[in-house]
Symmetry: C2
Subunit: 139 residues, 2 copies
């Protein structure tokens, strides 16, 4: 349905603006995680670079998207699943996969991060797991 992006914004108590809808649409249409740069490439002609920075920041804070760590100074973002968006809390305990061939980073929603035992005195708040390798499309 066409209103999906708009609904997400309303659920997060954000005002509905053209740039936010557009950026959400880009995420909804993407099959992989996107870096700031990817989004800029798709809509820098329509919206200012600064707006994109601020929009991503806002989406992060509202829990609409989550970010995926990387070793290449290119933090990537992906839509959170329904639960995250509706509750406003992150439940991102899935594994992320980066393909060395096509370069795409995807959420493996069905693969949960296994439990880890931290040494005494450490408290866990968040956990991130990124696997590199070859994805099923490139294999």
């Amino acid at each position: 349905m066409k209103k999906q992006g708009e609904d997400i914004l309303k659920n997060s108590a954000l005002s509905v603006t053209a740039s936010r809808k557009r950026i959400l649409d880009i995420f909804l249409a993407a099959d992989n995680a996107l870096a700031h740069q990817d989004i800029e490439t798709k809509c820098a002609d329509q919206y200012d670079r600064v707006t994109i920075y601020r929009t991503l920041q806002t989406f992060l804070e509202k829990g609409i998207i989550h970010n995926i760590p990387s070793t290449d100074n290119m933090v990537r973002y992906a839509l959170c699943n329904e639960a995250c968006i509706t509750t406003g809390h992150h439940h991102d305990n899935h594994v992320h996969f980066r393909c060395d061939a096509c370069g795409k980073t995807v959420c493996l929603d069905d693969v949960n991060i296994p439990a880890v035992n931290l040494p005494r005195g450490y408290t866990m708040k968040e956990i991130n797991m990124v696997v590199n390798g070859i994805c099923k499309s490139c294999k």
Copy 2:
């Protein structure tokens, strides 16, 4: 012993230069992972910014250090353990921990990354795990 850094360079077939020794010393003295910026702060007056970039790159390639992904666009580096350095291959299957209080990122050398089952068609080459929370010093 004072020659430790020099030995590491020789083992990796790198020429021994003042800047490399200095940067290695910084790592050897550090109890946590360092970002490029941290190193620059410690020795930008002595060595050029470009040299630091290139040195870190070289150390990475030679397996002297490994990098730790992050969501803040600040890739951090830490010394590899003996095994990595001597074999030249990475065996970084330990978990990394980032403390939300002191901001330090450390290697939990004794905590191995648990196995994960990837969906059919995916091949794993590398795996990274970063846990956020409160470290034992801040607790």
